[in-house]
Amino acid sequence: MSERTRTIKVDYLARVEGEGALYVRVKGDRVADVKLKIFEPPRFFEALLRGRGFAEAPDITARICGICPVAYQMSAVHALEDALGVRVDGPLRALRRLLYCGEWIESHTLHIYMLHAPDFLGYPDALQMARDHRAAVQRGLQLKKVGNEIVTLLGGREIHPINVRVGGFYRVPTRTELAPLTERLEWARDAALQTVRWVSAFEFPAFESDYEFVALRHADEYPFNEGRLVSNKGLDISARTYDAHFVESHVKHSNALHSSIRDRGAYCVGPLARYALNFDRLSPLAQEAARSAGLGPVCRNPFQSIIVRAIEVLWACDEALRLLATYEPPPRPHVDVTPRPATGYACTEAPRGVLYHRYRIDAEGTIVDAKIVPPTSQNQKMIEDDLARFIPPRLALPQEQLTLQCEQAIRNYDPCISCATHFLTLTVDRT
């Protein structure tokens, strides 16, 4: 007698950035196949970077993702500064952290309120959720706006900011120009605290995994642009040796390159990983909020990533306020850079996790070769692994509910398919 076969299909995943689909085949009580399909068209960024000037990299790579352009700019400038033997310190370094705070607040808040919360509260989107939870949605929009205000002030505009360059910025703000942000951020910090309370009251499926978490770890800061790349299972490397420790394999069934740790397999980057590996680097306020929300220093339930994002928003508000309080404008907006033939490497912490860039440039500063590994490609295998374990105990659920919970399990990772796609293989199957 043949086992009963059941399929779960989502033809167009909603409330993620980019175009993806889900296909799950269940045989009896086991998951026979999980495919997180990507049909987003490839855009060939590594190829089109060849022959461009090194100074163009931050603007070009920003266009990989409209949600996290600052992350691409930060990884690009740090990798190129590594190649050029330049270190950016003091107020310029602080301004880069402030800019990243803005992007984390904006991107995380978008995901918490507009993409993820509707799953927990049973709405198709935040706009319909606003009919019953208007105050919460308004708070989310205004909190997101504060993040965008930071990016706009420092970067010129919220999407694809124009002020970041290799060596620093084109123009740096005066103390007076930054001053209005302080009051806004004090409001935002309160709103973030309310956000932590709001999301920690949601109901979470009982689901934990023994993940290998991978994130940056810095000597004394919660990580943005610097630090060793570490894991809870023994990884401890610099970005310069990334390629020796991570492999991308071509998995035909999912039509995608999957990133894995050499000899170990799937791993998890993003808020859960950063939090688990850097809890002691969070501000006291953020640590206290985490404890009040019922979280320990490690959270292994990916559905609770929404709480961890809220804690990171709270921390980013705290950190931005600290940076604003101590800011003194630097004498020059950037340090000088001179081209030389070299290869540079950098990992920074995009909202969704580790973003790796590598560039080889020639004596004139022309890019000869580029490699970019976005967080979503690193999490893709983990998402499929999660689904393979999440589904079997829930097979008794009605199809519609199980499908919804599978979508929610994918949204736990805030996947950015637009980011991932420039390297993903493409097959179009939209039947």
């Binding site: 060939f44 989107d125 637009s418 493409l426 097959t427």
Partner: protein, 263 residues
């Protein structure tokens, strides 16, 4: 009496970074009002819910790069009363149109281990190369004020108020010191359509033309001025060949510079 039906708005994505449609969600102060004025019928980045067409207004982000998308855009056009393209990908082919100047097979082999799995067209083309477009909103990304203006104009059956003059005019309006005249920095502002608010010069940086060519852009004259500032033809090719590389005036100028002929 029945309430008048709210217009149905749809947001479609082709090859892009998602940034232009995100601009709509970045209208934090206006979003709930917009959602009250229209039925958001298709907007996968924001909602699981889908309302059947036809749609009163479709916003299209992204360029056409695959055979499947070349078909899909015709379906979108058929179900849309008005179709507006938003952003450099949709209006000019985007940064991914750099492939149009190269052999796409070479591009595929650089990025992908098994190039034979890739289904892609030789060229990245704007939406208007495939279907009739009612209005094109420029920018990489679009300006969200302009986006709200265009949505509002179409819902009220009036012409959008989006200037077609150059970035130079916006610089004067903003009170920027000219980076080209005062600092000798090669700037694309004189041939670039306004709409951003002259952000780059306000940050001591030259315009890099993310809003694409203005009407009757005199790129040849600008290239002449650039060469007097010491810019080499190779650098000019790069400058004209970025986020709006395949827009006609920029494509022609970059090809002229590549031939080394001026024009």
């Amino acid at each position: 009496m029945r309430k008048p039906r709210k217009p149905k708005l749809a947001v479609w994505k082709f090859a892009s970074c998602d940034g232009c449609q995100l601009s709509l969600l970045d209208c934090e102060d206006e979003l709930l009002a917009v959602a009250g004025a229209v039925d958001i019928a298709v907007f996968p980045e924001a909602s699981r819910a889908v309302i059947k067409g036809p749609y009163d207004l479709s916003l299209v982000e992204g360029s056409i790069t695959t055979p499947h998308d070349a078909d899909r855009i015709h379906q979108v056009r058929r179900t849309s009363k008005r179709l507006i393209t938003i952003g450099a990908c949709a209006t000019a082919g985007g940064i991914q149109s750099l492939r149009n100047f190269k052999d796409v097979k070479e591009f595929t082999a650089i990025v992908y281990a098994t190039p034979s799995y890739i289904s892609t067209l030789d060229r990245s083309t704007p939406i208007a190369a495939h279907v009739f477009v009612d209005f094109e909103l420029r920018g990489c990304p679009v300006n969200k004020r302009q986006l709200l203006e265009v949505i509002s104009a179409f819902l009220h059956h009036r012409k959008p108020n989006t200037p077609t003059h150059s970035v130079c005019v916006e610089c004067k309006l903003r009170g920027n010191v000219c980076v080209m005249v005062a600092a000798g920095t090669p700037c694309l502002g004189p041939v670039t359509q306004a709409g951003c608010g002259a952000i780059c010069p306000a940050y001591d940086r030259a315009c890099y033309a993310c809003f694409g060519p203005q009407e009757t852009a005199n790129t040849e004259s600008l290239a002449h001025w650039w060469s007097r500032l010491g810019v080499k033809p190779r650098e000019m090719v790069r400058a004209f060949r970025s986020f709006n590389a395949y827009a006609e005036p920029f494509r022609q100028e970059s090809e002229a510079q590549e031939r080394g002929s001026g024009r």
